[in-house]
Symmetry: C2
Subunit: 457 residues, 2 copies
């Protein structure tokens, strides 16, 4: 079937095609969006469509000025309306402390939606295709997304549609070649600096050769099935939550008896859902498994989670709540892949082979056994009852006693960052490592930790 | 933590370690199983364990005789009991029409279970480790397994346990190197002929480098979460099935009203579960989506599935049933990745670029547009009312009329294999292609089909 007919079929499947419909196409000037623009323009007469074409200038690359002109001319040659806007990605990323890519994505959709509303288009069209879908699925799967995170690129989300998800890049290339179309190659698409490009350029060809030449279509089907299943799971879990739990501001309380009646899968999904909304970030596997095992513990048991939250068994309930902190109390979740910046200190980590561990006397650099610690840490100040095994000792010692030995004044103690893995202290940063996490001859993977102290702000 | 302690922890998690427990270790003489044998032997005294070691001679490789001797000597040096048996993999594969690898797996577990029972071991131990788990997950995901197929290698299944799933290959290698252990490398482990080896040797290193160095641990966690969720889903679907449907031999009947109340995800999982038990093979995505859309059709609508099954809307029910066939009727599902052997004919297919399509006059070789046909076919004899578009024509023609034109006698007509994609005839094999599936200039992926006729048996 020619691409045009497949586009019609695809638009009808998502109920986005009627006589007189209007589409605003996000067009970067690249192969995908240029092909999409020509396809829609080809459809316009048959269906009496109104087509707009929008170029977003991200202010990041020199070539953008020329691309804008090129897209404007393409739109004119096809009798499409043309829109463009310039967004300040760097500023957005700075203000919201997010990556350039996240900031660009947000600003792009925001600008498209403004134009759509103001100029009354029915739909925003992006040219995501089957290979984009497959790359998204592969990246998410290999990074550990659970079923709720494996839905892929959605064919329709509010007013944004992706009617080309069922077409491969190669099919778009053939279409463009047959029509002798011109387009612009974005140089950043070949930079291995971006994970997505490395997956596209290096990993996908290998997957197609070794495992499944039709992986794009296979993962498109998988995404579709996973969307159906996770949509059921979300509703099911929402129903359960409504029955067993109640929220109250920052805290969440559920009947332990009811929780224990659920299957492990339901418990897992419930905790995942609740923690994501409560703390604003998806909990890792370790935290979820920790919560599951808390359910069979004694009343009064406590489990500390990310972002200053704790789970506690209390009066027949499981209570998830934000810890009340004193003004100078702090607690940060730290997954050790990024640098942790906290005003008066800075923590960074890098993995290395035990062969490359070179011991030194600096109290600000330590090596630990990654196989024991894992990569998910949190960092907080000391609490009553904290104890650890100071490097070189075999028994535990109260942190308060350790501070006393070192003659650290009481008012300074609360500012010492303590690095924890699960419930165990790994390092009183800058002071002493815990003996249980040190690198030994059995260590297979090690991690170098660096602590930098800065003047309090 | 040293490997030995981690093994204890892992065994306790699956409730497989008590004082006096007995373990029969499947030992091939390779690094993994030799390390497992030494680890269990090291545990034996502390826990008063009884350890057996079993070598399975597959009769496939020359080196097996020497490996058997090596494993026997290893067992003796560790004071472990030793067992061995020879299995005839080739014969098993022939008799059950399965692959050598499937046959070997079946015979291996069967032989282990016999020895376990006869010699009263509590557990069979296999040395699957974290990298095996990750490779399994990657292979299944990329081949399109849904959530129910992504449970990975199970840590415990009846009397078989895999307590090393949380250990990486590298950790086993370090352990073996530290103890100066000897082992045998199986040459077939480096042959790219096997998908699994290609994934291990080529794909996984690339994934670790490009996407996630800790992919083994990530996918181990994913497998664990997916097991919990799919176990919930299986029970949930079984509960639904009990309420809405009843089975009767080869057929299955469910209330349409009740089916329509379910979410799409539940419908999908229900059909997947039912068809797998009913037909003995997991249905593909296309069949599942076809069934879902049947639910909103008019009474009387019919949808033909794999393996001679059909779905029909009848008296307010959805009825899945095996088609009653005349003695010489036949119907085969064919996913086109393997050769279809059916006594008097043989069909094979291979994908190729349209560039490489070379037309010829042979009626037994045809090229089709893979983008239109997809790869899932079935093959059956003609039925009343069958119609197609003979190559070169633009309208449909009844197959019976076509047979008459060709002067094919009535008693021969039932033997002509007809290849179908979904509900459409693709090819009256050896006679005429359907015009809608031919290769055109728009074709992006083509498939070469070869039909070989053999004397009826």
């Amino acid at each position: 079937m020619p691409l045009k007919s497949r586009l019609v079929e695809s638009l009808r499947k998502i109920d986005a095609l009627e006589r007189g419909s209007s589409f605003l196409i996000a067009c970067s000037g690249g192969l995908d969006s240029i092909a999409a623009t020509y396809l829609f323009a080809a459809l316009a007469r048959d269906w009496d469509l109104r087509i707009g074409c929008m170029y977003i200038h991200h202010g990041l690359r020199e070539e953008a000025d020329e691309e804008l002109t090129f897209v404007r001319e393409t739109a004119a040659s096809l009798n499409c309306e043309f829109y463009s806007t310039t967004v300040d990605v760097a500023a957005e990323a700075r203000i919201n402390a997010t990556s350039i890519q996240n900031a660009a994505r947000y600003l792009r959709y925001d600008a498209l939606e403004r134009v759509r509303e103001q100029h009354k288009f029915d739909w925003i069209v992006t040219a995501h295709h089957a290979d984009d879908q497959a790359e998204t699925m592969v990246a998410k799967f290999l990074q550990g997304a659970g079923i709720l995170g494996l839905e892929g690129v959605r064919p329709k989300w509010e007013r944004v549609i992706r009617p080309l998800l069922f077409v491969t890049k190669e099919e778009l290339r053939t279409y463009a070649a047959n029509l002798n179309l011109d387009w612009r190659e974005d140089a950043s698409n070949t930079s291995r600096k971006y994970l997505r490009n490395a997956i596209r350029l290096d990993l996908m060809p290998e997957i197609k050769e070794l495992v499944n030449p039709g992986v794009a279509s296979t993962l498109g089907d998988t995404a579709r099935e996973f969307r159906m299943i996770s949509s059921f799971l979300r509703e099911h879990i929402a129903g359960i939550e409504g029955k067993v739990a109640r929220r109250d501001g920052d805290s969440w309380r559920a009947s332990l008896t009811e929780l224990r009646k659920l299957s492990a899968g339901e418990q897992l999904l419930l905790f995942q859902t609740v923690l994501t909304t409560l703390t604003g970030e998806a909990p890792g596997h370790t935290i979820l498994i920790g919560l599951l095992s808390l359910l069979v513990k004694e009343p009064g048991s406590v489990y500390t989670l990310q972002a200053g939250f704790e789970a506690k068994l209390e009066q027949g309930d499981l209570l998830l709540r934000k810890l009340e902190m004193q003004p100078d109390e702090f607690e940060y979740a730290w997954d050790s892949s990024d640098v942790l910046e906290a005003g008066w200190f800075r923590l960074s980590a890098s993995e290395l082979s035990p062969k490359n561990v070179t011991f030194n006397d600096s109290p600000t650099v330590e090596f630990i056994d990654l196989g024991i610690s894992g990569k998910d840490f949190y960092v907080r100040n000391w609490r009553q009852g904290d104890a650890f095994v100071p490097l070189g000792m075999s028994g535990t010692k109260l942190v308060s006693d350790f501070f006393t030995d070192l003659k650290i004044p009481t008012h300074e103690r609360g500012k010492v960052p303590i690095l924890l893995a699960g419930e165990h202290i790994v390092w009183l940063c800058g002071l002493r490592l815990d003996d249980r996490f040190k690198v030994t001859k059995d260590t297979v993977r090690a991690m170098r930790l660096t602590f930098e102290q800065q003047a309090p702000q």
